[in-house]
Symmetry: D2
Subunit: 460 residues, 4 copies
């Protein structure tokens, strides 16, 4: 920390020379230089200790403790997570196991307590003065993927591979969380020079499967927010590229569907059974046959189908994992409702009961042009980016950040979601959610800088 402190005092001197109330790029760059080591270390620490959605106990405690140390006012656990709005919470055993791992890893029991049961959200607030409230969102969860041990994979070479079998940060959220702590550190240092506005750093659990954001919105975190921003590292786009605003969020619904029939011997009494696989197969074909929607892109997928026990038994159970999407929320509504109707009737058709569990949901979302323009201006003024895109509308993926965007836009605020190229040096990167996913760590610093400068612009 010594180098950092030194740098800071140098900065303070420079600042005094500058006009009061003005923070320039050079100043921010110097702060960032001093934080690079910490941000990278944080990212690697998170990478090494990945936690899946609703079990981000170690991550949340780390975030909470750091924010408090940096002088943020911190809310956490049930205060920022609305219980009934959580989706896709894993079974008790998974929660307990992850919680125990946190304890085994030496995390403080008292600090863990607020997050128990899967309330792993943290919000840190810093007030500079009167004026606009800006929220920045960082997602923290990892994926159920076994990480590659290949020497070509940086975490393997540098020794920060996942320490948990079958779980891995393969979507960059380790980086996002580290960016969030980096932003916190910078804001803390900028505090003396800021005189207006408030910044909320929102650390969200369970973005994967679009399960967590709604519960933070329903906890009323965004009621006073004027601007909300989030960023995403893109592991297979070159470092130097930035998309300043994404419009391609599809509204989506994730559902688990259970078909419960009745078993019987397939040879001697086929009519006595109620064929869960036959019902589910009929649902699969019919769901894919839902007519297209005139208003834009729609999607449906039955991603997994598991049913039956024995070849010679009319199968009693079948479980489908499905998702619908729509370019707009109304299209996803159309798809979801139609799919639900098909599921119910495909079951009844074959005397089979059906049970649908909502596992995740996101609405559509669009970045506001005016806020994207600010980000673009920031990016253009930086020297890092050589490929700057304004708004990108290619649909396909989904993000529950859309709930936060919508909540803020609903009362007249602005939202933007920007994406930063982060393909590992010398490569074109690999797809997200694959076992060799990695990011160029320079993109973390760049992202912190974009966020900070955008905040400063908005609060000046």
């Amino acid at each position: 920390m010594k180098k950092e402190e030194m740098t800071l005092s140098k900065q303070e001197n420079q600042m005094k020379e500058a006009k009061a109330g003005r923070i320039d790029r050079t100043f921010v760059n110097r702060i960032l230089d001093g934080l690079t080591e910490q941000i990278t270390a944080d990212r690697r620490q998170f990478h090494k200790n990945p936690e899946v959605g609703w079990t981000e106990f170690q991550t949340a405690v780390t975030v909470s403790q750091r924010l408090k140390k940096l002088g943020f006012n911190v809310s956490e656990g049930r205060a920022v997570i609305h219980d009934a709005s959580r989706m896709g919470v894993p079974p008790e055993s998974t929660l307990t196991e992850a919680y125990q791992r946190a304890i085994d890893n030496g995390f403080d029991k008292k600090a863990l307590e607020p997050f128990k049961g899967g309330f792993t959200g943290v919000v840190g607030t810093i007030v500079f003065g009167e004026g606009p409230v800006i929220a920045l969102r960082f997602d923290m969860d990892a994926l159920k993927i076994e990480e590659s041990r290949s020497e070509a994979h940086l975490p393997a070479r540098e020794g920060f591979l996942s320490s948990v079998a079958g779980i891995m940060h393969a979507c960059g959220h380790d980086g996002h969380t580290a960016i969030g702590l980096g932003v916190a550190a910078v804001l803390s240092k900028l505090k003396p020079f800021m005189n207006a506005g408030t910044v909320k750093l929102v650390f969200q659990p369970s973005e994967e499967g679009v399960r967590g954001a709604k519960s933070m919105v329903k906890a009323d975190i965004f009621e006073d927010v004027d601007d909300v921003l989030a960023c995403h590292l893109i592991g297979n786009e070159a470092f130097g590229k930035i998309i300043c605003g994404s419009n391609g969020f599809m509204a989506t619904t994730k559902m688990d569907v259970r078909f419960s029939g009745r078993p019987s011997h397939a040879g001697s009494s086929p009519n006595a059974g109620r064929h869960a696989i036959l019902a589910a197969a009929s649902a699969v074909v019919n769901m894919h046959a839902i007519p297209r929607h005139e208003a834009g892109a729609s999607r449906i997928n039955v991603g997994t189908f598991n049913g039956g026990t024995d070849r010679n038994v009319i199968p009693e159970e079948a479980l489908l994992k499905i998702e619908t999407r729509g370019e707009q929320t109304e299209i996803n509504d159309y798809m979801r409702q139609y799919a639900l109707r098909i599921i119910k009737n495909a079951g009844e058709m074959h005397g089979v009961e059906t049970d649908v569990t909502l596992m995740g949901e996101a609405i559509g979302g669009k970045s506001d042009e005016s806020l994207v323009a600010v980000i673009k201006e920031v990016a253009e003024a930086m020297t890092i980016f050589d490929d700057i895109v304004g708004i990108d509308s290619h649909a396909g993926g989904s993000e529950d950040f859309s709930y936060m965007m919508s909540a803020v836009q609903a009362h007249g605020g602005k939202a933007a979601y920007f994406m930063v190229g982060a393909a590992p040096v010398g490569t074109s990167g690999v797809g997200h959610h694959t076992h060799e996913f990695d990011v160029d760590e320079r993109a973390l610093i760049a992202s912190v800088q974009v966020m900070i400068e955008t905040v400063v612009k908005r609060l000046s």
Copy 2:
């Protein structure tokens, strides 16, 4: 009629010589010799004037007038047809048109009156004395088939082709009705020599599509019946063959299903429609996939599918003609109920309304062994049959005679259904319901004889 009368008086003389109360084969044969011409003429008359189910106006009047002339007590129209139990009654326009044709052909309006609106059944009763009641059933309806004009086809060569475009006796019911009138004529002549029992001749409309029998049963015609018999001419089995009892009736249900959706432009607003063809197609595939029944043969068929108006319009309507069958009534029940469930849910799945109309129904049926044995004895004593089968159980077809069998068996009576080979001379015949279907007219006389001798045996 002269020849007949002459023959008769000869018979009467012979009879006087014989012992009172005994009717032997020679005597019956002589009566039959005298009736051959009439029976053949009747059959050709009916063949020339075919009438589809519930429109047998000319046929019914012909039967009614003849029975009365022969001294039978005749009930007809609504007295023998229970209105609410009729199935598959054609539209008003069809009824009216056929009725008008009868008038145009010179049939007496007053005689037609009782049958108006499609109550085209006739029952003639002859009482010999105390004792058992025997019912004999004859079906009268034709089919919607355009008759062949080929010279190879006897009706063409001999000039008694159907006079009605698109309608044809292609299942031998013209012969059955002529057999019934032949039986009536013989019974009338035998009356002086019989001293016990009653015979009811039941002329049934609308056997095709199994639509008529139930309505005669529900009119309580069979409440006092001890034995019930029917016969069927088999156009593609050699003359000389008789199957004395059929057990192969499958229970069956005939249904018309309408899927009513909502049209919309397939290019600009596919989601605004409700796709009747998609719903119906899903029903088709799922109905054929109804699991087999452990207890025996089951069947399902979607025989016709007609829907939609234009290639570029989401189709509003689709109409299916379907049937289910079961080796036993319970199996058909299983199939029908499952099919109905599929129809309803295939519709709801796609937001499409469904409407099912019952068009015909028959239960399963089995001939009684003891009654079949009598027929077999009769057949064996005749010189005509060289291929005599007892009970045949090969399933496949359906017959609504099963309702009559069941009604009689329910109160302890006996039933039998025999089948007489009738392939046209020098050929192996063609399948029923095809446009060159024909029968060897000798089989008509043989059938009359089997019926008469069986009746005589049962009443002696």
Copy 3:
């Protein structure tokens, strides 16, 4: 014709006063005033004698004779229609019947000859001098719709209802053809004042079902064309609205699919059949289930399904009328190929043969911005339009004009398709392809004017 001539000489006088080589709006307006009666009369004449695709014998002869009279160089029949590229040609009997109707209506046999067999295209060329070649396209075919006799329907009130049962101009092509003749008349009058360029008037058969345009393109009509334009009257948009360029053409393929199985008795030998309806139904469900395309809107529709003969027969045949669409040609290609694969395999799955007939096809198309800008400038300068839209991209419909656009754009030319509001006075109009479809005849004159002024601008 007297009034017209008088007006003309007045115009010529005025023209002499004007500067040579300059044609102003006032001049064109005056010509149009003189043609209004003729254009309206033409439209009503075509409306009264509607002819479906490839049978536009009367229409084509009328067009040909008029163009010749106006001094155009005319090509027609096989010279402008490439035989093998025609799609969805109706059966010989339909062609013969329509041809005979033309003869019966007094059309000259010799004049009809070139169009015999369904080669009902006409191209009229007028050369002003060196310079660009502009093609204007007018489609001529009617629809199989029975016209409304309601008094609310102008053709009924004014006595120009369709004289052919079951056929009607319900998509405005009567108007388009009349516009074409109006344009011809104006160009003929402008000839003395033009000194550069060539105009080709392309009268196309069989646009409905997108069957005709490709055959004109393959006849090499557009090889030397620099600009190509077409317009469409919109019966349910207010008069006064113009969309200067449509981009919403979906590529599309129209196909008739025959499933040929084998009949058998559904009760006695279901396994002996090959179930055409079962195979077709499986194809229907699977075709609608083709996965969505990432690149944009896709469509599939089974618009009609007709199969089977009797309820109790495994159906031998089923006929589907289907169409695919895609926002871009590649998307339609994806849909068509996938659908063909499904059809083939759904047949083979059930031992059923399949046969696909291409009934129509169109590619996607986009209007060129620069040419649309000219049209927009023209519209803005006119006083008629109060609702002027530039490019409209809402997808949904299809138009085989896209082949002509693509042919011209392929060698560097420009294309545009504009749409003119034409809801009948005092109404908001009814949908195209419905039995009360009608257009405000003022829109015809307005369309002629837009075309003429655009041509003049491009050739000045």
Copy 4:
């Protein structure tokens, strides 16, 4: 062994008193009394050490060693198992693990050697003299079922529960193998008194899933066999019941089907994938829709369906476990061929590759009436059976003993399969293949006696 020896010498004495060449019931009963303890002990030993199909290493060695000790001529391993005709052989790892377990349990490596790799059949032959050859078949394999530890379950109470997790004798094959060894012991004792014929004891692996019998037939074991018999203990029929001949074997085919598609992201590029679950679901629905067969009962079942990895990924793989059945071999052939056609085409329809592995197969089979009559005579003469059924034709299950029946019948021999009620004392038993399945051990002795007396009758 002491008691047995003593008993034997007693029997021998009695035998000397009897007439030479005559073996009466009393004599056999006495031998059986002496063997009861051994047969029961054998059954419990096998129950405790269950081995699934093709891994019956311990069982086969036990059988082989015993037969040799009893003076049988023994063939085993590849000599009696035709490699290429084996079906459903488990993966190498399963074979190796089971083999190692046999070694760990102290079985002699040299004795195990012939069975290595899953050739776990044994045939013991005893020659009495010239004359007929009788084969008796005993199946040896267990099931993948976790045995109940309930005190209500005899093996739990008496301490002979399965020692292998997840594997259990739940279909009575432990009893069948013990019966086989009991028969061997009796035959060995009877040898001095027999003077004609040969008996082959056929110990078959892998009857479950109908995987093993064909490979023993193809090893030509039955070429010289005149009579072949097998018995099955029925755990849920009362002890005292015997069905002397079963005709209810359905021909059957067991297949594993792999659908291999191509993954892609379900949101951003659904068209780039090849949807294995969609293809498999279409196959499921269509396979269940195979039309019924006129000649008798048919069956199809998709018993398990497992596919896909993630909700948001177009699934790459799906695996179905299916079976077809037919009341006759030709019906199963029809079902199998139709199902294979559907699988192939459902795959191709969606661009998905399919791969089918034959996992088991049996043909239909019927017991010969004359041989069943002998068994019935035997059973009637015994005092144990109070419910004796001749031939039972209820279809539903399948047995690969049918291959052996067919092989013997093909050259004019006779076959019979009898079933012995074996519900545990005081209960009505539980279904086969359930975790509390058990048999009344008295039924073992009764079965040995039926077999011995039938053999003696046939060789006398």
